[in-house]
């Protein structure tokens, strides 16, 4: 709820040019940023240079990445699309069945105009004399609720909020939604490796046998590694696998223990 309100004024225009980079969070998405860049061209939106705009946006994104600023995925998608549009605008249109570069540019212009129109009227709407701020109603309605056809003062919002609360409560009470920690259990690792034993080639690196989708950084990945490490120790102890390591911190290798061979 708190994110619906903030300190910045709704009509504040973000600063242009280089100062843009200081305030990525001030933009409501890539279209909003494009609109701000377009305003820098100080011409009618129908006459802006889409090519120049694409250049500026791409420069913005590469500068943000150079400064290692976190950019949302939609900015990168927009950058890729603008790079494509730029190449289409610079080269003659090869495929007649695709929309022409001019059509794409016109669509983008219309999109910018539409957002600009909404931002403009939003400011005009907010500037109107508003009830409770500039205009006031009767604060002391007399005890004559003669139009109270409804004996209960219940709004649709109240009703929907009540149902939302019930649904939320139900979801929490459901036995299936007990939060499960994102850790990979040793039991699971043992069971999985045991099932794989017959199929693994001779000596294999442990790292190659970790489950897919669990690689990478973070607690999850470390728990996979730890569980599987403990699991192979357990399996070795039970005489089911053989382990090998060429030196301290070298990759661990394992293979299924062959029948008839002795212990390690």
């Amino acid at each position: 709820m708190s994110d619906g309100f903030d300190e910045s004024s709704p009509v504040d225009e973000p600063p242009a040019g280089e100062a843009l980079l200081l305030d990525i969070d001030g933009f409501e998405g890539p279209i909003d940023l494009l609109l701000t860049l377009a305003r820098d061209q100080k011409v009618d939106l129908t006459r802006i240079s889409i090519l120049a705009l694409a250049e500026q946006f791409l420069a913005f994104v590469s500068e943000a990445r150079r400064l290692r600023l976190e950019l949302a995925a939609d900015y990168l998608v927009m950058a890729a699309w603008l790079a494509y549009l730029k190449s289409r605008l610079l080269l003659p249109d090869p495929q007649p069945d695709e929309p022409s570069a001019e059509m794409l540019a016109a669509a983008l212009t219309l999109q910018l105009q539409r957002l600009e129109a909404m931002q403009g009227v939003a400011a005009r709407l907010m500037a109107r004399p508003r009830l409770g701020r500039d205009r006031f109603g009767r604060s002391a309605p007399e005890d004559l609720p003669i139009f109270a056809k409804h004996r209960h003062d219940l709004s649709l919002y109240d009703l929907l909020k009540a149902y939302g609360d019930i649904s939320g409560r139900q979801a929490r009470q459901s036995p299936f939604t007990i939060p499960v920690t994102e850790l990979y259990s040793i039991e699971e690792a043992v069971a999985r490796l045991e099932a794989m034993l017959g199929r693994i080639p001779d000596w294999s690196y442990l790292s190659a046998l970790l489950p897919g989708g669990w690689r990478g950084e973070g607690v999850k990945a470390r728990s996979v590694l730890a569980s599987n490490f403990v699991a192979i120790l357990e399996l070795a102890k039970a005489g089911k696998v053989e382990l090998r390591q060429d030196g301290a911190f070298a990759p661990i290798q394992l293979r299924a223990r062959r029948d008839g061979e002795g212990g390690t």
Binding site: R138, L144, P145, H152, A162, I166, A171, R172
Partner: protein
């Protein structure tokens, strides 16, 4: 109309607006403080006179001023007076469940809310004209079901029951207070109900 831009007239307009918008009668001192050096009393008397025969009068009592509806209209205003009462949380939730799950039996309402529903809750909703008994469910005990009335749609400005936002809509609108589901362990995926 030239009078409109006369300073006194502007002050009378301001007094009129203050008295209209104030929740309680306002003291003459407070009014004086609001309008500056011009003596407030003659302006108030002017306003009182202006409204003397209107449907609303400016009245003073105990040094405080307020607009009140004219006493002679009392009878015509006081007909049909109904007292609005706040609905209990149980009643609001029950109404919401009937709206979304109708036709729904009392036992089903209780199962969804997780608590027993008092007989009075359904009575209140029925008295308000929002719900009515529907068909009996053809199951053992033939329990009565509850459904909403046309007045329910009317009150909440809905054209049809199909226009009630679904759970996904509520969630998207931020109305659903939900706990974040966490990824589950492989092999332990939740089977949705």
């Amino acid at each position: 109309m030239t009078d409109l831009f006369n300073a006194d007239t502007q002050l009378v307009r301001l007094l009129e607006a203050i008295l209209f918008a104030s929740a309680d009668p306002v003291t003459e001192d407070a009014l004086q403080a609001r309008i500056g050096p011009t003596p407030v009393r003659p302006l108030l008397l002017q306003l009182e006179n202006l409204y003397r025969h209107r449907g609303v009068n400016l009245v003073a009592s105990g040094g405080r001023w307020a607009f009140r509806t004219a006493p002679d209209l009392g009878d015509q205003l006081r007909t049909e007076v109904e007292v609005t009462a706040k609905l209990s949380r149980a009643a609001v939730e029950t109404l919401a469940i009937v709206a979304y799950h109708q036709p729904v039996t009392r036992a089903e309402i209780e199962a969804i809310r997780g608590v027993a529903t008092s007989k009075g809750t359904l009575d209140i909703l029925m008295e308000a004209g929002w719900i009515r008994p529907g068909r009996r469910r053809e199951t053992p005990g033939r329990p009565l079901t509850w459904v909403t009335t046309p007045h329910f749609l009317d009150h909440f400005g809905l054209e049809s029951l199909r226009d009630l936002p679904g759970v996904d809509d509520l969630r998207a609108a931020g109305l659903l207070d939900k706990s974040t589901p966490l990824p589950t362990l492989p092999g332990l995926e939740v089977v949705s109900e």
